[in-house]
């Protein structure tokens, strides 16, 4: 949706929602406002998609070119091109051509590792899955791991050692390094500084310690833009030393998240979200749920799961935390103003669950909030039960901001003679008030190890390309300290070096990365001669057993720091890492760029996110570029208003806007790092906002593929696309969400029912545990080689994702406790599929296992099927989106899936390649496919296991049992499509005390 929104009458929304034919669930404010432009856009959806985009080739040119290529293609197609088969000279063991192998490894991000299993086809890594044996993964992954396969093959990664920008060699670099070290050796390394990213590699830690022994006057600095300084400082306030919290959501009945997106962002979230959701799966006979309270400024996936949510500026979280703490008996009572009642109710609920609750705070929040949280957890008796503390997993657990400040000061004072920056892009990401990039010029010998030739490389004498984690040996620790060996799957594609190899060069160590890591662990394994077997076992399992860090007993002091004087009043700015491209390191990753961000569903851009009320106070509309100023620093960003955002608060995602990135990332978004300072922190209060008069088009998919529109009974009533209610209603009558007449099966038919004799594939999606994170989408993209289309194409609704997550609101947008629901929508594989009869060439048909199949080579691109699909899950290749040219991407693609060309329709296949593979394996053994033997890519990656896939004919299968649940419903079943993909309704577990005050009694009924 890109229509400019001028006059939003917020008061009218409430009236509209209470009126007759009111939509119970809605997706965008324009819809509530009955904006005529939206009507137009939705009605014209198909036409808009097929319109020429104005850039590149228009329709006329396209036809001309097509005419020419048909004429010439006729000549060329007589003989197929000759193909060669290249066998090995000497075949490696275990490798069967045509069958993939899986290797365990681990991916580290911000110093925390997550275990992965990497699929390798003939030596080429093609897909990343989670490692079920790894405590930080349990078989699922985050979106960064899914997308990292694209980064591996990125042709724009740096590919050569450079000296002052010119091509050089590794040998030349090493000799220059040695020469510099020679001059420093006399003074014990005075002036030698190593700046790493946050990392937990025990090997790198030991290498650094050796270096510091050899050069006692040298120093080790650490900086990662998504820093956890305030978490560390908070624990220092509470316990007197930096500690890390490990949480056990399995034992928590009540959870309070203070500006913490622990279900979709913070380290270890893949594990935590699984544990948390295991307490929310309402099944027949197990009607229990935990209760989640969330206080946050910007709605996050965690916020969408909240049973009670307050939208408050991030700067006021501390007051709320103090108020809750006061009620619990920690510190003095504080008045939380308008939120007192909320704070009291939450505190009472927490007190009622001593030792069975968890309170947590976000990384953005100041140390004091973290100290308060530790004190509350101690007072509630949670410490040692639902939370425990370990030493930080980081190899260098320092206050990174201070570390950078010291480094910048020393650089400016000329005290740094040699600076080695190992990873990261600090010239772009360092706190703005340090002016790090400029300070670098004071250092006479500067080295940068980086994946791209970026801002920092350009300011360094030497640039060394860094290896991808699938290219080099290393090790890393999970969120609970468990060690994994990072095992490479392929030789460096672009001549990279790893951190270990650079550190070895510093140490005059000539061993390879493999030897360094292996020798380090050989010393520690204490298995003597049997080390080979032990090592192989570790590599196979992907974890070193019993290597989790032991809990430390840390009595919290209980004292909480006095409240600091409140900063300037007025509008605040909250800086947070972008949900997709993170701190900017994934800016050149088009999968992440195009993955719709949770809640806003924006792609390819960041924006100044604010509530509709704040936007109307500021008199700005979506796309208006505003200039935000605080303390003399300014940043410009386009406005995007988000219902349920806190008023007087603007959220800015950093990571965008790097000038030196590849073709993909160039020109996307706005750089907001200049606004991020050490002094100001991530919550900047008292900013002034000015309109610039410029406008930017932002590509959001929020109103794409609108389901209910054409079916609207005059008012756009949601026909049971979302069904939600409360746990209490469920306990009274588990079938309370059932709507008579809307069963999945039951429509009249002239034809006898098809007997599905072998398998009947089906999927059940539990909307009650879906956070809307988007990991299913990117996992599907990686598995099925789905192309990206770019911002211009997203703007006209041509994104290609086979599974999308629609975000619905429920209730009055002015209500702070507005309901938010996430509904992943893949192909429904309808038994009466409306797409099938309209295809003139039978390119889409039905299999005897109930799969709605899509045969690409038959498709002639009439798009009748997409036109007739009520779920809007079909995607058309309007242009040649798949990159057939770039060599490296050819190696990346899943060889089991056809790459689609221009003019071909595609859609979710239930991962038919996996079904076929496992059917064949089962047939060879003369058995049926066992439940859980395989699953689809989306279901496999989902951290919450919201998506389950299997055989409905097997009554013991997970999916068959879920389909029999009373909460199960089908979408748009009144069309008699008989969908194979069904949903479980979403339940909230409101606190009766709070619900009594707020709830309009009728809002839990599904729309009839």
């Amino acid at each position: 949706m890109t229509t400019g929104r001028r006059h939003l009458d917020l008061a009218a929304f409430g009236a509209r929602l209470s009126g007759e034919n009111a939509p119970e669930y809605w997706r965008a404010l324009e819809e509530l406002a009955e904006d005529p432009s939206l009507h137009e856009v939705l009605r014209e959806e198909l036409a808009r998609e097929s319109a020429a985009t104005g850039e590149g080739v228009d329709r006329r040119d396209f036809l001309r070119l097509m005419g020419a290529s048909v004429a010439m293609g006729g000549l060329a197609a007589c003989t197929p091109p000759a193909e060669t088969i290249v066998p090995w000279v000497d075949a490696p063991e275990q490798l069967v051509p045509g069958r993939p192998l899986f290797y365990a490894s681990a991916m580290e991000l911000d110093g925390v590792g997550a275990g992965v299993l990497v699929e390798s086809h003939m030596g080429r890594p093609t897909k990343i899955e989670g490692n079920p044996d790894h405590p930080g993964s349990l078989g699922a992954t985050d979106h960064f791991a899914q997308a990292s396969i694209l980064s591996l093959y990125d042709p724009e990664r740096s590919g050569t050692v450079r000296y002052t920008g010119d091509v050089s060699t590794w040998a030349a670099f090493v000799s220059a390094l040695q020469a510099t070290l020679q001059t420093l050796r006399g003074s014990g390394g005075e002036g030698l500084r190593v700046l790493t990213e946050g990392m937990s590699s025990p090997t790198a830690g030991s290498q650094m310690r050796e270096i510091l022994q050899r050069y006692p006057a040298a120093a080790w600095h650490t900086w990662q833009p998504v820093t956890r300084d305030s978490v560390l400082e908070g624990s220092r306030l509470a316990f007197g030393r930096p500690l890390q919290t490990v949480r056990h959501f399995g034992g928590a009945d009540v959870v309070l998240a203070l500006d913490s997106d622990f279900l979709a962002r913070e380290p270890g979230f893949v594990r935590y979200t699984r544990d948390f959701m295991d307490r929310r799966r309402v099944r027949a006979g197990a009607a229990t749920m935990n209760r989640l309270y969330v206080a946050e400024s910007m709605p996050t996936p965690t916020g969408t799961m909240a049973d009670h949510r307050v939208a408050i500026p991030a700067g006021e979280i501390e007051t709320l935390a103090r108020a809750i703490a006061g009620e619990i008996g920690v510190g003095t009572r504080v008045d939380a103003g308008a939120r007192s009642a909320w704070a009291e109710a939450v505190a009472r609920d927490l007190r009622a669950h001593p030792g069975r609750s968890i309170v947590l705070a976000g990384e953005n929040q100041p140390p004091a909030v973290h100290a308060i949280v530790h004190a509350i957890n101690a007072a509630l008796g949670n410490a040692g039960r639902t939370v425990h503390y370990i030493e930080p997993v980081e190899a260098n657990p320092v206050n990174q901001g201070e570390s950078m400040r010291r480094l910048a000061t020393d650089m400016r004072a000329g005290r740094v003679r040699a600076l080695l920056i190992l990873g990261g892009n600090p010239a772009f990401t360092a706190p703005a008030d340090l002016e790090f990039a400029r300070a670098m010029d004071f250092v006479p010998f500067r080295v940068h190890l980086g994946t791209y030739y970026d801002e920092t490389s350009a300011r360094s004498h030497w640039h060394v390309p860094a290896t991808h984690f699938l290219e080099a040996w290393s090790d890393t620790r999970a969120c609970d300290g468990t060690v994994s060996i990072v095992q490479p799957l392929i030789r460096p594609l672009y001549n990279g070096a790893s951190v270990h190899e650079i550190l070895a060069a510093l140490n005059e160590d000539i061993r390879t990365g493999h030897e360094i890591v292996r020798d380090f662990w050989r010393e520690r394994a204490r298995t003597g001669a049997d080390f080979d077997a032990t090592w192989n076992r570790w590599l196979h399992d992907g974890v070193i057993p019993d290597s989790a860090l032991p809990p430390v007993s840390a009595p919290a002091s209980g004292a909480i720091p006095a409240a600091a004087p409140r900063g300037a009043a007025g509008i605040e700015v909250v800086l947070r890492p972008d949900p997709m491209i993170h701190d900017g390191r994934f800016a050149n990753n088009s999968w992440l760029q195009e993955l719709p961000k949770p809640v806003t569903k924006l792609t390819w851009d960041n924006a100044a996110l604010m509530s509709p009320a704040t936007a109307s106070v500021l008199k700005v509309a979506n796309g208006d570029v505003i200039e935000i100023e605080a303390g003399g620093r300014t940043v410009q960003a386009p406005v995007w208003s988000v219902p349920a955002h806190a008023d007087d608060s603007i959220t800015l995602d950093y990571g965008y806007g790097a000038l030196r990135t590849g073709e993909v990332g160039r020109g996307t978004g706005t750089d907001v790092y200049p606004f991020r300072t050490l002094a100001g922190g991530d919550i900047v209060r008292g900013v002034t906002v000015r309109k610039t008069g410029r406008r930017v088009r932002l590509a959001t998919v929020q109103m794409h593929h609108e389901l209910a529109w054409e079916l609207a009974d005059g008012a756009g009533a949601r026909r049971n696309i979302v069904r939600s209610g409360t746990l209490d209603r469920y306990r009274e009558n588990p079938e309370f969400l059932r709507v008579p007449g809307l069963e999945i099966k039951g429509g009249p038919s002239l034809y006898p029912e098809w007997p599905y004799e072998t398998y009947a594939w089906g999927m059940v999606i539990d909307t009650n545990v879906c956070t809307g994170c988007g990991i299913c989408t990117i996992a599907c993209q990686a598995e099925n080689s789905i192309p990206v289309v770019g911002k211009e194409q997203v703007l006209v609704g041509r994104e290609m994702h086979w599974i999308r997550t629609d975000h619905y609101y429920k209730g009055d947008p002015n209500d702070p406790d507005i309901g938010m629901y996430n509904v992943p929508i893949p192909c429904m594989h309808c038994e009466n599929a409306p797409c099938e009869p309209v295809c003139p060439v039978e390119a889409t048909s039905h299999s005897d296992e109930g799969i709605n199949e899509m045969t690409y080579n038959r498709c002639v691109g009439t798009r009748y099927c997409a036109n007739n699909c009520p779920y809007k899950v079909r995607r058309f290749n309007f242009l040649s989106y798949a990159d057939f040219e770039t060599e490296s991407y050819k190696a990346m693609r899943n060889p089991d899936v056809t790459v689609r060309s221009r003019g071909v329709m595609e859609k979710c296949t239930y991962c038919i390649q996996r079904i076929n593979e496992h059917r064949i394996e089962a047939e060879k053994d003369g058995r049926r496919i066992r439940d859980g033997e395989f699953t689809t890519a989306c279901a496999q990656a989902c951290p919450t296991r919201a998506i389950r896939f299997g055989d409905l004919n097997d009554s013991d299968s997970d999916v068959a049992r879920l389909r029999a649940e009373p909460l199960n419903y089908g979408m748009l079943t009144e069309l008699n499509t008989q969908p194979r993909t069904s949903y479980l309704g979403a339940l909230k577990n409101p606190n009766p005390e709070l619900a009594r005050r707020a709830a309009p009694a009728s809002s839990t009924e599904p729309a009839e």
């Binding site: 075949a91 199949e853 089991d896």
Partner: protein
């Protein structure tokens, strides 16, 4: 006044009907051409870097298919032997043969031999050798008498209609599992063993699009 001669009637009739026949013939011709060995490449002998004779190695020496095509029972791809497999024998026999120089060079220099593909399916077709072997489809059914080919050619058209001949009526082609690799086996009574093997082997040869196209 008569502008056209009387014979113009005949001419016009002829050309109108002639055009219809011409178009029909053209369509028929293209259809037939497309299915002819000219287009499918049947029986085209493909020149290989080493003139490896299946006739000699299979009928002459009696080497089993699976000695070289090792993954044919387990994988989609039957496998082309690594140079090392050739050299298992040829380090002892024919060690100096000029014909085998590319093989020795491959081992010496660590450079693989680049064989020309003979049986090529389009990229949107997924064929799995393993399951066909397992269900009792003989090599010879699709590849012809490889044991009589000095240089391998493609015997069958490999067109979709040809695939479907068997997928629609597997009982006409299935053979006992122990005869799968037998080049010379002929059924005594296919009508008798066919349906029985289909039952015994649990053959549900499918004709859904997504069995091969995905």
């Amino acid at each position: 006044m008569q502008v056209f001669h009387r014979s113009a009637n005949t001419l016009s009739r002829f050309s109108i009907f002639g055009a219809v026949f011409l178009v029909a013939f053209a369509l028929w011709f293209v259809y037939q051409l497309n299915r002819s060995p000219f287009a499918t490449g049947q029986r085209d002998v493909v020149t290989q870097p080493v003139p490896f004779s299946h006739e000699h190695h299979v009928s002459g020496l009696g080497i089993d298919c699976r000695y070289c095509h090792t993954s044919v029972e387990t994988s989609s791809f039957a496998g082309i032997p690594p140079t090392a497999t050739c050299m298992n024998c040829h380090k002892q026999i024919w060690t100096g043969a000029a014909m085998l120089e590319p093989v020795r060079a491959s081992l010496r220099e660590g450079e693989p031999i680049r064989w020309q593909r003979v049986h090529r399916l389009p990229e949107f077709v997924h064929f799995n050798h393993g399951i066909h072997i397992q269900k009792g489809i003989g090599c010879v059914s699709c590849h012809g008498r490889v044991d009589q080919m000095p240089l391998v050619w493609q015997e069958k058209p490999l067109s979709m209609s040809w695939c479907l001949e068997c997928h629609r009526a597997p009982e006409e082609f299935v053979r006992p599992r122990d005869k799968v690799f037998d080049m010379t086996w002929e059924p005594e009574d296919q009508d008798e063993i066919g349906p029985r093997l289909v039952r015994d082997y649990g053959i549900r040869s499918k004709t859904n699009c997504s069995i091969c196209h995905y």
